[in-house]
């Protein structure tokens, strides 16, 4: 039988998931990772690959990875056909609209300028508010956009709100809750159901 291939995110969330996998007994092979991109755990028939969070959905959707760990923010933005099997309840944060105090979100006929890394999510949210917007797509440091007059508001994820405050911004509206999910694709789930459900029940304990 082939090893089950698990895609883990590099960065902050990956650092939270690895001890979780160790503590729950899923794998003992994640001790000394250093810069390795692939780790095989022959004892548990698992292969771990380390990817940029934004690539995990692609690898799982294409079946290269059988399961992966990724934030709900990426899942909402990418909107790919993957299964969302389990909410790990880590990496918890919120999608918010933020800007300078007293900034009007509801501008009736006027177009609201929104800077964001998540154009799809921002568009859907403001469509539900029936507010016309102009999207300014950025890849980072979104908080600066209102400061330099690039946008009226931003749509971003926030954990504690500290970064927003430090840049003189405040939460104008909360949108949705985000956390890390375990994802899979339909085919992998069919053939590895037992193994995947065992990992989920180990993580639950």
């Amino acid at each position: 039988m082939n090893n089950l291939c698990i895609a883990l995110p590099t960065g902050r969330i990956g650092k939270q998931i690895i001890p979780l996998l160790q503590r729950s007994g899923v794998s003992n092979a994640l001790e000394n990772i250093s810069r390795k991109l692939e780790i095989k755990d022959e004892e548990s028939n698992l292969t771990f690959i380390f990817l940029k969070p934004s690539d995990i959905i692609t690898y799982v959707e294409k079946g290269v990875a059988d399961i992966g760990f990724v934030g709900k923010d990426s899942l909402l933005e990418e909107d790919k056909e993957v299964l969302e099997l389990y909410d790990l309840e880590i990496g918890k944060c919120k999608f918010v609209v933020a800007g300078y105090k007293d900034t009007q979100i509801s501008k009736k006929e006027e177009i609201l300028k929104v800077a964001t890394k998540y154009p799809k999510i921002a568009k859907e949210f403001f469509k539900s508010l029936k507010q016309s917007i102009e999207i300014i797509k950025l890849n980072g440091s979104v908080e600066i956009a209102p400061l330099v007059g690039l946008s009226d508001v931003i749509v971003d994820i926030t954990e504690t709100g500290t970064t927003l405050k430090e840049n003189g911004l405040e939460v104008l509206m909360e949108m949705s809750d985000i956390s890390t999910r375990l994802i899979s694709n339909k085919v992998s789930y069919q053939f590895y159901k037992t193994e995947i459900n065992k990992i989920i029940s180990d993580l639950k304990e």
Binding site: E84, L85, Y86, N185
Partner: protein, 306 residues
Amino acid sequence: MSKLRNEIEYIKVRNKVTLDIENLMSNLDYIKVEPDYFESYDWFLNANTLIRPTSMVKFINPKGEVQLLRPDITTNIIKQLSSYWESDSFYKLYYNATTFRQSKEGITQMRQFGIEQIGDSSFNSEVELLQLINTIFSRFSPNFILSVGNQKVLDNLLSSFSKDKITRIKKAISKRDITTYKELVKDEQDEMLQRLFDLNGDIDSVISLLKNFKESKMIREYSKFLLKLKGSLSEEELSMIDTDLALVSEYDYYCGIVFQGYLRSQSKPILSGGRYDKLTGKFGKEIPAIGVSFDLTSYIKEVTNE
């Protein structure tokens, strides 16, 4: 081997596989049909409310009407047949045709092979189709699984919810997002609803599990359906089947048995189908109909990999 020789070898395999399957269909008295290339956009969306409009290839005809390059064949065939349907007719049809979808990469063409039985409401059609699927796909065993559900039972279970809530529940079910699903149905007492995702596995296990549930009309109906399946198929045919009441299709016209087939080496389901009497009803008269279609290109690719 040179690229050209590779390509010729592939074409030979493709032609042989296609001929073998088409001969199988003819020997079982199925008639080959040719579907239209174009559909009316409004009409198609009305018949298939769960498909994403953005995935369809649209164009404007000389009359200014929005049309589609066919994304699906079944609706097309039923529309053609319904115009000259006579009662007590029974047709066994098949097709081998290209469908078109829009993706970020552009227009994707897929060669789709489909089998339809129209006019028979008895379980014989279900059995014959499942046996055909086994005949065509058993060469890939154990790397082929057929997931079988029941849209009628599932829709009845969800019938007390509003249309909007049903859409959200079905979206959660299709993603196997148990957390969201449980949140949406938390106020319901029905045991089948609460334990929907447990009703998944080989027929014998699920039948056993259902015996532990508090008796209800839906439990009786679903158990009866599973027992009928078990009684109609051989050991080999049953061995490829994984029953799953949480099987949801992107087409909302299914009204009985539904199935999806998976090959281990592929990242998407290769086959889907079910009973769709409700679709024929959209054309005026409800005619019993059941069908299955699969991606012939992926099938041939799998054969060449053998």
